[in-house]
């Protein structure tokens, strides 16, 4: 798979106007590049939570082919 699958949840999903999307993978692609592609913003907002392949990530890791990246606000379960 030469794509990256992107998911949005809750308030972010509404702001993005879609629950999921995908973009072509390229070598060196980082989480912040995906966010920029989705939102037009250079920086990921501080409160945003990011998961790669359903694991929380910190910072701005590089992605690999087939990764699933999710952006969502602070959680409020339970």
């Amino acid at each position: 798979m030469s794509i990256i699958k992107v998911k949005f949840f809750a308030r972010i999903r509404e702001e993005m106007g879609r629950a999921e999307d995908q973009l072509d993978f390229r070598h060196g692609l980082k989480v912040s590049d995906v966010w920029n592609w989705a939102s037009g913003d250079d920086e990921i907002p501080e409160a945003m939570l990011v998961a790669v392949n359903m694991e929380h990530v910190k910072g701005d890791p590089e992605l690999k082919e087939g990764d699933e990246v999710a952006f969502f606000p602070p959680v409020t379960g339970g």
Partner: protein, 165 residues
């Protein structure tokens, strides 16, 4: 949506863990009753600690009519199972049952159930508290409440431990 697994607990005996997401209403107390009746709980569990979260009609000073609980299918289950494994590694629990509602929820309906069984009360009480705290602060769920002027996303969970919150 269901996960049943066995692994050695700190006491060296197999522990059982069940984690489920529920799109439809459930009665948390009846679930515990059925779970006990199903025979999973043996004579060695002297202590049961249960926490139930139920939808209140008020939040942050406003009347709430109903709410929707969004989750991240796949990651949410994975996260809940991970919490339970951590609890099992830290405390000598025999059995853990976690149920969490998803979707549209009305006032008075149960949202979350955490139940643990152990030989000693300290292990059960501490494990249940650990699981509900982690679940509240880290599990991928998002609440949207219907209030009088429309809908609103809940931005953060209360700490649950301040009388003012």
């Amino acid at each position: 949506m269901k996960s049943l697994s066995s692994r050695p607990s700190r006491e060296g005996e197999p522990a059982v863990m069940r984690v489920e997401l529920r799109p439809a209403p459930f009665d948390a107390v009846a679930e515990v009753r059925d779970y006990r009746a199903s025979g999973g709980i043996s004579g060695k569990s002297g202590a049961t600690s249960i926490f139930i979260g139920t939808m209140r009609d008020f939040n942050e000073g406003e009347e709430v009519r109903n709410m929707t609980l969004e989750h991240y299918p796949g990651m949410t289950e994975k996260h809940l199972e991970e919490i339970c494994k951590q609890a099992e590694n830290r405390w000598a629990v025999h059995d853990i049952l976690v149920l969490h509602r998803t979707g549209d929820i009305e006032v008075g309906e149960d949202i979350v159930l955490v139940a643990t069984w152990a030989a000693h009360r300290g292990d059960a009480i501490d494990a249940t508290r650990f699981i509900i705290e982690d679940l509240k602060h880290r599990a991928p769920f998002w609440k949207k409440e219907a209030v009088s002027e429309g809908e609103r996303w809940v931005d953060r969970n209360t700490s649950g431990y301040l009388s003012a919150d």
